[in-house]
Symmetry: C2
Subunit: 316 residues, 2 copies
């Protein structure tokens, strides 16, 4: 499914549209982690976003971009957790229905949050095919508008708004790194960053066990079939076609990290920032640690994408 | 050991003295936790203080209150963790030696931090008598100045500085609650709060398994012997004589909570604030949850005292 990429203007529009609802998340510095990496790190704390993840930005922009007629039947999506929760919360801000297709095996804390936000849950098998089929059924039965987690112009535009903030909250960033799963975040961020400051180098961080974006970039064509094997529940999706196009157009380099590296990075973030960051989020910092020489001496924006953790099932 | 209580002026002096070194920690609000308690909660995030705990305030004030001659032989203390780390870090800001007596069984993460801060460690048995005896030996051998964790005028004054900040960062607080162990924090905070705003009601929160402050207040005389039995490693100390006097003079009420209540409160704090708070710190919020009717409808300052957690040994 190919969708149009958003423009910088659309990302600015998205920022205005979500402003009444979303949090302008803080950017944190940490002397110990700077010393450890040799870089000046600017942590964009999206774990402190409404719903505990950046996903609220894209979902909120999508919900408030609907006409009243479109909005009347509500919205539907499939999500392993954070996007579903975000869409449920965004729908609630507009008073419309939300249907969320949740694969078996999703993080319990995230599923509970979706229910608490008032969405209707639809369970399915933990495959991308099952997720898409179930979402299509719900869409047909209810007339709800599909808000895809990443292959959606409004969603990408919404995610990109965090870079507009980050550039205002920091000084002279040389590079920005975000985790990459479906690529909605990274594509929106790349468009926003280069729209404002073309010299910024964009990086993605991907689990070695779900490295379809890195491999698709390397071989020059999109991998279409793929079984993820990673603890990073938020990064198991296949990168979207348009999202991959955006990564190519913006010369994004993707760094892969093992789950062990990610878990070690997660612990370091918790210990030093005193901030809860979920495992998928820690891939970005893991990549900075792993490829120290790429980042040392530079000003690096590190996007901490979420903080929704099942405290009874920590990865160490 | 009776020591003089600090005055409000001395707490203001302490604030000026530590300003070049300490963090003005943020105050966080949270809609979900407000809804849960029916109160307007103002979380003073001392887990984001230098060294990850409020203790840096008192230690820093003590270190920088020394004359050059006094400072030359360094400082010594006994501590289950946070005060030792704070004193080591404070000594480093002045370039003087720090000796820390650490009881066996202290939280590993805290002991490691003390070593990293450059202090000399001295191990002892996990009893208050052994701690005091070992500290006295070190003091005699080195000439270092003893900086007691709580029975020390400068330490109490330093801890009280957090209330000066909290009152500026919030509006119209009705009450403030802090955990109570030795009572250095609570006594300093009570003096500061009533110096600025006499109508504020002060509360302490104490583990049921270390409820010597509550019992001493109830029976009208200080308990002198006592074996703590609580998971709250930072709150096992016997309340100091002067600290108890301050609690009496300021009509402080102490609420006791079980370890189970504290652990549940700790989880709620982590899940909602996305902030790591150590178990001792969670007693204050546990007390607000337990005695909901005391706090509902009020503006409550809740001091989150520290965030130094051993991630491999979480209490749930």
């Amino acid at each position: 499914m190919s969708v149009r990429l958003p423009t910088l203007d659309e990302i600015h529009d998205a920022a205005a549209r979500i402003a009444p609802h979303a949090v302008v998340t803080p950017v944190w510095r940490n002397a110990s982690l700077d010393a450890l990496t040799g870089a000046a790190l600017y942590f964009k704390c999206e774990n402190l976003q409404r719903g505990g993840a950046f996903k609220f930005r894209g979902a909120c922009n999508a919900v408030w971009s609907l006409t009243d007629d479109e909005a009347a039947c509500g919205v539907v999506t499939h999500s392993s957790g954070n996007h579903g929760n975000a869409l449920a919360m965004a729908a609630a801000t507009r008073g419309i229905a939300a249907h969320v297709v949740v694969p078996e095996g999703a993080v319990r804390a995230k599923v509970e949050a979706i229910e608490q936000a008032g969405a209707t849950l639809h369970r399915c098998a933990p495959t991308i095919a099952a997720r898409e089929a179930t979402a299509a059924e719900v869409q047909q039965a209810t007339g709800a508008v599909m808000v895809h987690p990443y292959a959606n112009t409004h969603v990408m535009a919404g995610q990109g708004t965090l870079v507009l903030e980050l550039l205002q909250q920091s000084e002279g960033l040389d590079t920005i790194i975000t985790p990459v799963g479906g690529g909605g975040l990274l594509s929106g961020c790349a468009i926003a960053a280069h729209g404002v400051k073309p010299a910024i180098k964009m990086h993605g961080a991907e689990p070695a066990g779900a490295a379809d974006a890195a491999e698709s970039l390397a071989r020059g064509s999109r991998i279409e079939h793929f079984t993820p094997n990673t603890i990073c529940d938020g990064l198991r999706a296949l990168i979207g076609e348009s999202n991959l196009t955006a990564l190519r157009e913006h010369y994004v380099e993707v760094i892969t990290v093992s789950d062990e590296e990610t878990i070690a990075a997660m612990k370091l973030l918790w210990q030093n920032l005193k901030l809860m960051v979920e495992v998928s989020s820690a891939t970005a910092f893991a990549a900075v640690l792993k490829q120290r020489e790429r980042f040392a001496g530079r000003r690096v924006g590190v996007v901490l994408t979420g903080g929704n953790v099942d405290l009874d099932d920590l990865p160490w």
